[in-house]
């Protein structure tokens, strides 16, 4: 994917986490220009993520608005998306927005029961936090609360 297309697609926001672009999320896998038009390849974060249809439509709109014709958006499942594909910039944006960014998946994507991940509070930066629920407001988040500043917050869980 060339820098020009990347720049255009950086304007397309995730409708459920509007500080992240589809580039930040790492869900745009490729964009191929041919004589006939352009094909963008995306992959879903979670299988049932309801935002994918909106994201596809917005990618189309954005490219059409920049003069591209015959825009197709293809969804592929393999290789499966991982939070490790989220950009460093994306993680910083999440934190500034009040959502704890995902830890590296090798550290924490474990199946052990009752294992609490040490998540830093995005508001006061304390590591003194606890999990309220391993599911949150969207499929990609878990609920935490800070034991120091007492604020509840979302954690974009590793996947």
């Amino acid at each position: 994917m060339n820098d020009h297309i990347k720049k255009i697609l950086s304007n397309v926001q995730d409708p459920e986490v509007p500080v992240l672009s589809v580039i930040d999320l790492g869900i745009v896998r490729d964009a191929v220009e041919t004589d006939e038009g352009i094909e963008v390849v995306i992959t879903p974060t979670y299988t049932g993520c309801p935002a994918m249809d909106v994201i596809s439509a917005q990618i189309r709109m954005e490219l059409l608005a920049h003069g591209y014709r015959s825009v197709t958006v293809k969804t592929v499942l393999s290789p499966a998306w991982t939070t490790d594909w989220m950009t460093e910039e994306g993680k910083q944006k999440l934190k500034a927005y009040g959502i704890a960014p995902p830890l590296h998946s090798q550290q924490v994507c474990a199946t052990e029961r009752f294992s609490d991940e040490v998540i830093q509070c995005p508001l006061c930066s304390s590591f003194h936090t606890h999990q309220v629920s391993n599911f949150g407001s969207t499929a990609c988040k878990a609920l935490y609360q800070c034991d120091d500043c007492k604020e509840p917050f979302d954690y974009f869980k590793c996947h």
């Binding site: 979670y46 299988t47 052990e112 309220v132």
Partner: protein, 241 residues
């Protein structure tokens, strides 16, 4: 190499019906966080069902779509497991049903993710990440309820009594299955022993099992589920959002 389309439909139907069952908790969960949890699991399962149905629709190649497959087939055409259509009951029943299924799906999807059917492998590899999370969540709840209060323990015992008889079907091979699911039973049983021991629950020993879901012979519950789930498409054919 593609697998038998009836097998893909069986995977799709089981994911859809369990997703629908779990979605019945929406707004009725015991606490807000767990209401959100069970409906998130529902969303994952319905998403997996969509992927299986889309794949099956392509293989059918007769104009069927994910929607027609989900909304326009009747009870006898559904190939889901009997376990997933059982009523939600109380929280213990819902948790135990999820634990049995996630435990099984974890083994099954790991196997399918390594097979030569590329599209099915991709769907299962993706779903596996979600199933792993469901397995962890439901295991924790089995332990929490089994080793909780006297009442929560009684409710778990009652759920085991009601649901165990539907678990044998998981390991009974249907003609469309690419592998004898009995190969998954050792890891499945081992996990039950591990979790139930930690939960201070007795390991079920019943040997009479209900069969029929894989061949379209369902319990009375599936008709009621479909009546509700398919109502809009039956009443207003072709309606769209």
């Amino acid at each position: 190499m593609n697998m038998n389309v009836d097998y893909i439909m069986h995977l799709a139907d089981s994911a859809l019906i369990l997703g629908h069952r779990n979605s019945e908790w929406c707004g009725h969960g015991p606490v807000l966080e767990q209401d959100i949890a069970i409906t998130n699991i529902s969303l994952d399962l319905i998403g997996q069902a969509r992927n299986f149905y889309q794949y099956a629709a392509g293989l059918h190649n007769d104009g069927s779509t994910e929607d027609s497959l989900a909304y326009l087939r009747d009870v006898r055409e559904f190939r889901n497991l009997l376990l997933v259509e059982q009523p939600n009951g109380d929280w213990a029943h819902t948790i135990l049903r999820q634990f049995f299924i996630s435990n099984f799906q974890y083994e099954l999807y790991r196997w399918l993710a390594a097979q030569e059917d590329e599209q099915l492998a991709a769907i299962c590899n993706k779903a596996l990440k979600e199933v792993t999370y469901h397995l962890r969540w439901s295991s924790e709840w089995v332990i929490r309820l089994g080793d909780g209060t006297e009442e929560s323990k009684q409710r778990m015992l009652s759920a085991i009594d009601d649901l165990w008889t539907f678990t044998g079907e998981l390991f009974t091979r249907a003609p469309f299955e690419p592998v004898d699911p009995a190969i998954f039973s050792q890891n499945y049983q081992q996990r039950i022993t591990e979790i139930f021991t930690e939960a201070r629950l007795p390991i079920p020993t019943g040997v009479y099992f209900q069969q029929g879901g894989k061949t379209g012979l369902h319990s009375e519950h599936l008709g009621f589920i479909l009546a509700e789930m398919q109502f809009m498409q039956r009443a207003y054919p072709g309606s769209a959002w």
